[in-house]
């Protein structure tokens, strides 16, 4: 960071970092009860690191909220608990009781799994704790409807997003005013690309889940894609049979529920190699995720209108 002190122009990463920190401080100054949505992925990792920088030497003055589906990778739960400890932040874990009661899972219930655990779970958690501003790690380069979203994204009392009528957002002046019950989703890393995230992790030594690096892991094939058998016993219970497990050198480009997150065969075991592979790949990042395919081209936009991040 020593070159930050020169009068030379700031690099793009320095500008992006300063912007994200500015956004977080605005929220803390203006919102009554902010929270950071923490999904344990690499974008969340960067967002948490930025929060620690923004408020140092204070710990970030808001809790972390993990909307859990119970189907995340074991390694994600481990890093989550460690990061909450290290950052000195309160960790709130929310699991939609209705989804738990009905045994909602990715195999039997398809899109309903995401809807119940994530979309509904998120809305329930925000209502339960009365959060009026929630940080999310979404980036505009991820998906077409996200490319259109404001940094301060206003949501109705029922968490809906009205993409055709967004508040104008001028300069770096954010309007955080809202009525009771309404809330704001805030995306401090809106302007970061996947490469920026990786590079920032590398330059700042940000801890991430080891699943991003290639290693021999137990895998199975399902609907033509490769998945990791993170909890074989549970898989067997839900599927009613034991899938054929083969150990392969794999890694993950994004992390979500283990039965929904496609693995890629890879030998990239260092950050540089992962970045190299990312840059040389010819498919987009979310391609391994099944959520975007649910409703054709407008999948994410519809989900966002319903209250998904």
């Amino acid at each position: 960071m020593s070159d930050m002190t020169s009068k030379a122009r700031l690099t793009h990463l320095q500008r992006l970092e300063a912007e994200a920190i500015h956004i977080m401080r605005e929220v803390v100054a203006e919102a009554e009860r902010p929270v950071m949505l923490y999904s344990v992925g690499k974008d969340s990792a960067v967002m948490l690191h930025l929060a620690r920088k923004a408020f140092y030497p204070s710990p970030p003055p808001f809790p972390l909220l993990h909307v859990d589906t119970t189907w995340k990778f074991q390694a994600m739960y481990e890093l989550r608990d460690r990061m909450a400890r290290d950052s000195g932040m309160e960790l709130l874990v929310y699991q939609n009781p209705e989804a738990a009661e009905n045994g909602i899972n990715p195999f039997d219930h398809g899109p309903l799994h995401t809807d119940m655990w994530k979309t509904e779970g998120l809305k329930q958690a925000l209502d339960k704790y009365g959060f009026d501003a929630a940080f999310g790690g979404a980036r505009r380069d991820e998906e077409k409807s996200r490319a259109k979203e404001r940094i301060f994204s206003f949501r109705s009392a029922s968490h809906g997003w009205d993409p055709k009528n967004q508040r104008p957002e001028l300069w770096n002046i954010y309007n955080a005013r809202k009525h009771k019950g309404e809330s704001i989703r805030v995306f401090p890393i809106s302007n970061w690309t996947e490469l920026d995230i990786w590079q920032y992790i590398q330059v700042n030594d940000v801890p991430i889940v080891p699943l991003y690096f290639a290693a021999p892991r137990p895998t199975y094939e399902w609907e033509g894609q490769l998945f990791m058998a993170d909890d074989i016993a549970r898989l067997e219970r839900v599927l009613g049979y034991r899938p054929e497990i083969v150990e392969r050198p794999v890694r993950f480009r994004t992390l979500g529920c283990f039965p929904l997150t496609g693995a890629v065969e890879s030998t990239a075991s260092t950050l540089s190699e992962v970045i190299q592979e990312t840059l040389l790949t010819t498919t987009s990042e979310r391609q391994g995720r099944m959520i975007d395919k649910d409703a054709g081209g407008a999948g994410m936009e519809v989900k966002k209108q319903q209250g998904y991040f």
Binding site: A18, A29, K53
Partner: protein
């Protein structure tokens, strides 16, 4: 069809990833927008830039090919616009509604491009995109030349302070790459640009669809010497880099107090640089101190510059909080409470002269009122037009009065301390973008004439506490009747009162006002001022006005000392008031002979927490008056 062989990445990535990353890490960033008239090919150009810089993945390309055949407008060719129009409504209608942000990188720079809507009704979204841009690419369809929207967007870009303008004459393929067409358009635009104060621009003949002069000079335009669009974007000087050479300005966002031993002031440095030992001045208080530390998670810094988010510690325990500005001690900005500003109105609800709005500038938020515009600008002719208000998408100049001084600089000198937004107090909508032109000296010229007798002296002689009893409610609710009863009772109690009645005031003081929303606001403002003067004279003032809007009632409340404004809500259901219809007004309104009638075609916003509420169905006017008097006691 797309040639799959085009898809290649930078060779260095495969050969030496660490060298590539080292190079990439030190790239600068350019934020730019594309704008211009509908169908001039903005989205197509961005699609082309992404495609040529290899930012489109195979799966996206496959989806694009499918979409192009299904809903595209380019026959069997790829419709790049589909890459950027992200919302379902946009794809259906084939138009751009909101700004889309896209990202690409070349060997020299990283780019964020905002694709701005061309339709006039989405101007506010265009301004949103322009406000963070270092450069604007203004597209012109070579077949159509300079259009209204071209002028409008150029003017907005200039207004918002974008100094790097690129005139991209697009669709050159459709005019046979004719130099004469290009030259004529450039000459036409140059004349217009000069008339609005644009000193320079860079003109390029391109084709977004065919790729001419985007990344490589085109053989189709041998008469054009370059640069290509990408070359220009890679090398143009980013003006924000000179911010570091200006005097220090750090708007304080947040005070960092983890424990009693640490007090830091966090914010983004707007301009200038700062080092430990620098003398600084905190505004608006004007107190000075010295910077003791620049604190970050990675260790203290020896210096920080414009564009960085930092936490400063000061050597002295001086008062400093959110909204204050830490500035170079020798060269501080001013504070003032009256400005002339240029406004871009962004809401369907027009500007209400005299109504209170929130103004947010940097981390400062104050209550303001906007005066009647001096003029609006006709963006087609650049003529100044006399107007009473500003409607959606109108641009005008008006005076703004804040309820306390704010720290500012003219927008042309400092964007961070000169740009602001206005927020509607009721809907919380961002209704306008504003740019401060200068502060008005009038605040210093109109002094309060000091008087020897104070308002307390006036009140003491009358042996009472001044009050304003503000009756509000629907027409026919019983306001005037009850107000009259209240005044009679106070008079018998030897209290000095005066009743201001809505109908009576409109015969004199306010006879120039009608019943439009703007006139109703002015009506209440004047009555509020008169009531305040009378309260200063020691009177108990009673007013009976429909006063339908919460914002105006709150405005009057804020004019008076705490506790002196008593809001009395005469709560009568619309059906009841309409059935009474003492003056026959409801019947007229229902017949459409009376426009803007409260309760019929104009809203009534009931008080949320009135000091006193009376219900005229449950009580008679006399009972209501007795009840109100009981609530008011004691009166001295």
């Amino acid at each position: 069809m797309v040639d799959a062989a085009i898809y290649q990445t930078d060779a260095l990535i495969a050969e030496d990833i660490d060298a590539y990353l080292e190079q990439h890490q030190h790239k600068t960033m350019l934020r730019f927008i594309t704008c211009g008239s509908v169908d001039d090919g903005k989205s197509t150009l961005i699609g082309r830039l992404l495609y040529d810089s290899k930012m489109i993945f195979e799966d996206q390309l496959a989806a694009l090919e499918t979409d192009s055949r299904k809903v595209g407008t380019q026959g069997q060719e790829i419709d790049f616009a589909l890459l950027v129009d992200g919302l379902a409504a946009e794809r259906e209608q084939g138009i751009t509604i909101d700004v889309a942000y896209r990202f690409f990188t070349t060997e020299k720079r990283k780019f964020i491009v905002a694709d701005c809507p061309g339709h006039e009704q989405y101007t506010r979204n265009m301004v949103t995109g322009a406000s963070t841009a270092d450069l604007a690419v203004i597209l012109i369809d070579a077949r159509k030349g300079v259009l209204v929207q071209t002028r409008r967007h150029s003017y907005l870009c200039h207004l918002i302070g974008i100094r790097n303008l690129v005139l991209a004459v697009n669709k050159m393929d459709l005019v046979d790459y004719d130099q004469a067409v290009f030259d004529a358009i450039v000459a036409d635009y140059a004349e217009f640009a000069q008339s609005i104060g644009i000193d320079s621009f860079t003109a390029l003949p391109i084709s977004g669809i065919k790729g001419d002069n985007i990344t490589a000079l085109s053989a189709n335009t041998p008469w054009f010497q370059g640069p290509t669009l990408v070359e220009h974007l890679e090398t143009v000087e980013v003006l924000s880099s000179v911010d570091a050479d200006m005097p220090l300005r750090l708007p304080v966002q947040w005070v960092n107090r983890p424990n009693l031993d640490f007090r830091g002031f966090s914010g983004l440095i707007a301009t200038g640089s700062v080092k430990p030992g620098d003398e600084v001045r905190v505004l608006p208080s004007g107190k000075t101190s010295t910077v003791s530390r620049i604190v970050t998670l990675d260790g203290d810094l020896a210096e920080a510059v414009a564009g960085q988010s930092v936490t400063l510690c000061l050597a002295d325990e001086i008062d400093c909080s959110r909204g204050d500005v830490i500035a170079a001690a020798a060269n501080p900005p001013q504070a003032a409470d009256q400005f002339e500003a240029t406004l871009v109105w962004m809401n369907d609800d027009p500007m209400h002269v005299g109504r209170a709005y929130w103004l947010k500038l940097g981390s400062q938020a104050v209550s303001v009122t906007v005066q009647q515009p001096k003029y609006a600008v006709n963006v087609n002719t650049m003529e100044h037009i006399a107007v009473k208000t500003l409607d959606l998408n109108a641009i005008g100049v008006a005076e703004i009065i804040t309820d306390k001084p704010i720290v500012f600089e003219p927008y042309r000198d400092n964007r961070a301390l000169g740009g602001f937004i206005l927020i509607d107090k009721l809907t919380n909508a961002t209704v306008a973008a504003g740019m401060i032109n200068f502060s008005l000296r009038r605040a210093q010229n109109v002094h309060w004439q000091p008087t020897d007798l104070t308002r307390e002296d006036h009140a003491r002689l009358k042996n009472q506490i001044p009050k304003v009893l503000w009756f509000t409610g629907l027409s026919g609710a019983g306001k005037s009747t009850i107000a009259n009863e209240v005044e009679k009772r106070l008079h018998l109690m030897n209290r000095h009162t005066f009743l201001l009645d809505g109908d009576n005031v409109r015969h004199g003081l306010n006879k120039d006002l009608g019943f439009t929303e703007a006139d109703r606001i002015e009506n209440i403002r004047r009555v509020g001022e008169v009531a305040k003067l009378m309260a200063d004279a020691g009177l108990i003032v009673i007013t009976a006005f429909i006063s339908p809007f919460r914002a105006e009632r709150d405005m009057v409340r804020k004019m008076l000392p705490a506790g002196e404004f008593i809001e009395i809500y005469v709560d009568t259901a619309l059906e009841v008031a309409e059935a009474r219809d003492v003056k026959g007004l409801y019947k007229k309104a229902r017949r459409g002979e009376l426009a803007n009638f409260t309760g019929i075609d104009s809203p009534y916003e009931p008080p949320e927490a009135p000091e006193i509420r009376v219900n005229t169905v449950e009580m008679s006017a006399q009972e209501a008056a007795e009840y109100i008097i009981a609530q008011l006691l004691p009166l001295k």
